[in-house]
């Protein structure tokens, strides 16, 4: 009602202004001595403006009538009275009214077209905004959420977009829509009394979800329906894009896994064959030649023993690696005592330290860290082994651990040699094997990358850097909170 009054007021105001302006113009002309026949084009102009500015042709016609009556009253003889029309006047009148009629119709159509154009522009603008939001979504669910929120705002009613089968408790209309891929519910034959409208969401004949539109207050008009279709089409595109990206990602991961397996096999076959060749060769010599001196015999047997241990190490490393690589097995963490984990690792390396000094510094308190003890032990073993191989032959190797806020920092540091030139992070790459400081056999280059994989699988971080003693320090942190059952006590 309020709107109607305002509109009425506006129309009347427009009319009043134009009437007065028209009258003033004609009066002006008469004063200036211009023939008052010019009044008619002026009236036509006035009526044109009136029908453009008011919201229906009625006002234009009313204005025209006012003009004519006024003109007849005020500007034709006899003045101040309506005179009977003669033939000329009638002709002029008829043409005048025809012109008014046509003008009204044209201006109405024009106004209508402007209205439609503005509405379309608004819709386009909204669709563009939606498009921009959809591009940023990273999953099908997110795309649906985005479209859903958008539709609720624009259509001013409850809209739900659900992916997948609506389920048994979703109502017959929803299930029908999903199964048969056509609109159901409000407005469709056979669904009388249904307050919601259901549209299938899909492309190329396949349905991937159902759109539920609340029509309790009113159905959708045609403009809204076609707008909805555009929105759903865009949503479908976004969904398909997200699905393709997912697929692509999965394939890439798989391909990387395959690549790694191939590299690993190549490396394994090469690096295991070397010690095996050595074993076979030495054994062969010992078998064939009976005249070998006892010292040489001991030497060859020792070499065979060493090679066998080397192979065992290789196998252990490979097993650890495969355990960490296997994504299906979640890392089983139990709280382990730092002292024990370090103790186990150092104990195992004691035999192999050669000329190196191996020192241990335990944390002040007894620390319990959730971890896979075997794997973290392997990290320490590999780090110590790395120090033995690559630092100078008589270096001191320090193994220590300390609490550092919410994590425990383990460190293996030596004082001989240090890391080579280049980015320290490179040492953790797979198949990177540096030169040994003691002239021994080069490894497979997996040891440090296994350390990295294990540490990261625990949610920790590992880094390497040159220390103040001239050697290298390898430091890794494991979080103290890890989520594992507490026995209490």
């Amino acid at each position: 009602m309020d709107v109607d009054l305002k509109l009425l007021g506006r129309n009347l105001a427009v009319l009043a202004v134009l009437y007065l302006a028209g009258m003033a113009a004609v009066f002006g002309f008469s004063v200036l001595g211009v023939s008052t026949l010019v009044a008619f084009p002026v009236f036509v102009l006035g009526i044109l403006v009136a029908s453009l500015e008011s919201d229906s042709g009625f006002w234009g016609a009313l204005l025209g009538l006012c003009y004519l009556l006024s003109y007849d009253l005020l500007f034709t003889a006899p003045l101040y009275q309506l005179k009977v029309l003669n033939r000329n006047d009638v002709a002029a009148l008829v043409i005048f009214f025809l012109v008014v009629l046509i003008m009204n119709t044209v201006s109405q159509r024009m106004r209508r077209q402007v209205f439609i154009a503005q509405r379309n522009e608004l819709a386009m603008g909204r669709l563009n905004k939606l498009s921009a939001s959809l591009i940023d979504t990273t999953s099908s669910e997110a795309a649906c959420q985005c479209a859903q929120a958008f539709l609720v705002r624009v259509l001013d009613r409850d809209v739900r977009i659900r992916l997948g089968d609506p389920g048994a408790d979703a109502g017959q209309a929803a299930r029908d829509c999903y199964e048969r891929n056509y609109p159901t519910g409000f407005g469709e034959v056979g669904y009388r009394g249904c307050a919601k409208r259901y549209l299938p969401l899909g492309a190329k004949g396949e349905v991937c979800g159902v759109v539920e539109i609340d029509c309790a207050e009113s159905g959708l008009d045609e403009a809204s329906s076609s707008f909805l279709s555009s929105v759903l089409a865009q949503t479908m595109i976004a969904i398909e894009r997200n699905d393709l990206e997912e697929e692509h990602r999965a394939k890439r991961i798989k391909a990387e896994g395959e690549k790694f397996k191939t590299l690993l096999l190549q490396s394994v076959s090469h690096d295991l064959r070397t010690p095996l060749t050595s074993i076979a060769g030495n054994a062969d010599v010992l078998l064939k030649d009976a005249r070998i001196a006892p010292e040489t015999r001991r030497e060859l047997l020792g070499a065979i023993h060493e090679d066998a241990l080397w192979l065992n190490d290789m196998v252990e490393n490979l097993l650890s690696m495969s355990r960490v690589q296997d994504e299906d097995i979640a890392l089983e963490k139990t709280p382990e005592i730092v002292d024990e984990v370090i103790g186990t690792a150092v104990g195992k390396m004691e035999r192999r330290r050669g000329g190196h000094r191996l020192r241990v510094e335990l944390p002040e308190d007894i620390l319990l860290v959730p971890m896979d003890g075997g794997l973290v032990s392997r990290v320490l073993i590999n780090l110590i082994d790395n120090a033995i191989r690559h630092s100078s032959p008589t270096s001191t190797i320090d193994v220590s651990a300390r609490k550092d806020g919410p994590q425990v920092l383990f460190s293996v540091a030596d004082d001989g040699g240090g890391l080579g030139p280049g980015d320290p992070a490179c040492v953790f790459s797979r198949f990177y094997a540096g030169d040994r400081a003691d002239g021994g056999r080069k490894g497979m280059g997996l040891g440090l990358s296994i350390c990295k994989a294990i540490v990261e699988a625990h949610g920790g971080t590992i880094r390497a850097f040159n220390n103040e003693q001239g050697g290298a320090t390898f430091e890794f942190a494991l979080p103290l909170e890890g989520g594992c059952d507490d026995e209490g006590g």
């Binding site: 709280p335 002292d339 150092v346 104990g347 319990l368 032990s377 594992c484 006590g489």
Partner: protein, 230 residues
């Protein structure tokens, strides 16, 4: 002793079996070999060896089942031979009555030492717990429940003392977490023995036993602990 100790090897892999034979033979033991659990059981019943080396990866039966089943085996010390990564098997075997274990690949020295220790335990009569135990600087006084290391007295909590005492009573033998927990705390929990481990860590620090260079107690990874004294 006049008669050589006899050892029965139950191992299916011919390479390892032969290697063990040669090794034990050279140490003066009388060796018999069985290639399967069934044959092993019969030989054990027939010959009553002094010690059995049992491989847990036998083709015809689970080595642990043998331990549980075998009546005659209850009297004979058994050392199980396992592959790495079979932690559960080891624990189960020990809890089922095995004396000790070695992990492939094992050093010969280690195996021989364990055989000697097992035989020694067997020949040792059922003795009452000694009033006082001393080894390499560690002294336990059972009457007063006090402990000293290198002359300095060490203050242990009751649980720490009990833990040490249990290990000393079974010195040389690998004890599972489960077994220790039962003997020290009396109850068996289904948890991951956190209390036991923390107590052990605390005990070690007090008797100055670094886990990486153990003087007294060695961690048997995945299994339990072992007191190294004699």
């Amino acid at each position: 002793m006049t008669k050589a100790d006899s050892i029965l090897i139950i191992e299916d892999d011919p390479g390892i079996s032969r290697m063990l034979q040669v090794l034990l033979d050279s140490e003066g033991y009388a060796v018999a070999v069985a290639r399967s659990g069934g044959v092993g059981l019969s030989l054990a019943r027939a010959n009553n060896p002094d010690l059995i080396l049992l491989d847990l990866g036998l083709p015809d039966c689970n080595g642990t089942d043998l331990l549980v089943r075998g009546d005659v085996l209850a009297q004979i010390p058994v050392i199980v031979v396992t592959a790495r990564g079979q932690e559960d098997e080891k624990v189960r075997a020990l809890d089922a009555g095995a004396d000790d274990y070695v992990v492939k690949p094992f050093g010969s020295a280690e195996l021989l030492a364990r055989i000697r220790a097992a035989l020694r335990r067997r020949s040792r009569p059922e003795e009452r717990p000694p009033k006082r135990y001393s080894w390499q600087g560690l002294v336990l006084d059972c009457a007063s429940r006090t402990v000293s290391v290198d002359g300095e007295e060490v203050h242990l909590t009751p649980h720490e003392y009990d833990l040490l005492a249990v290990l000393v009573d079974n010195r040389g033998k690998a004890l599972t977490h489960h077994a220790i927990q039962r003997q020290v705390w009396g109850c068996v929990s289904t948890g991951n023995f956190q209390t036991l481990r923390v107590t052990m860590a605390s005990l070690r620090r007090k008797i100055k036993d670094c886990p990486s260079h153990p003087r007294f107690i060695r961690t048997e990874v995945g299994v339990g602990y072992r007191f190294l004294g004699e």
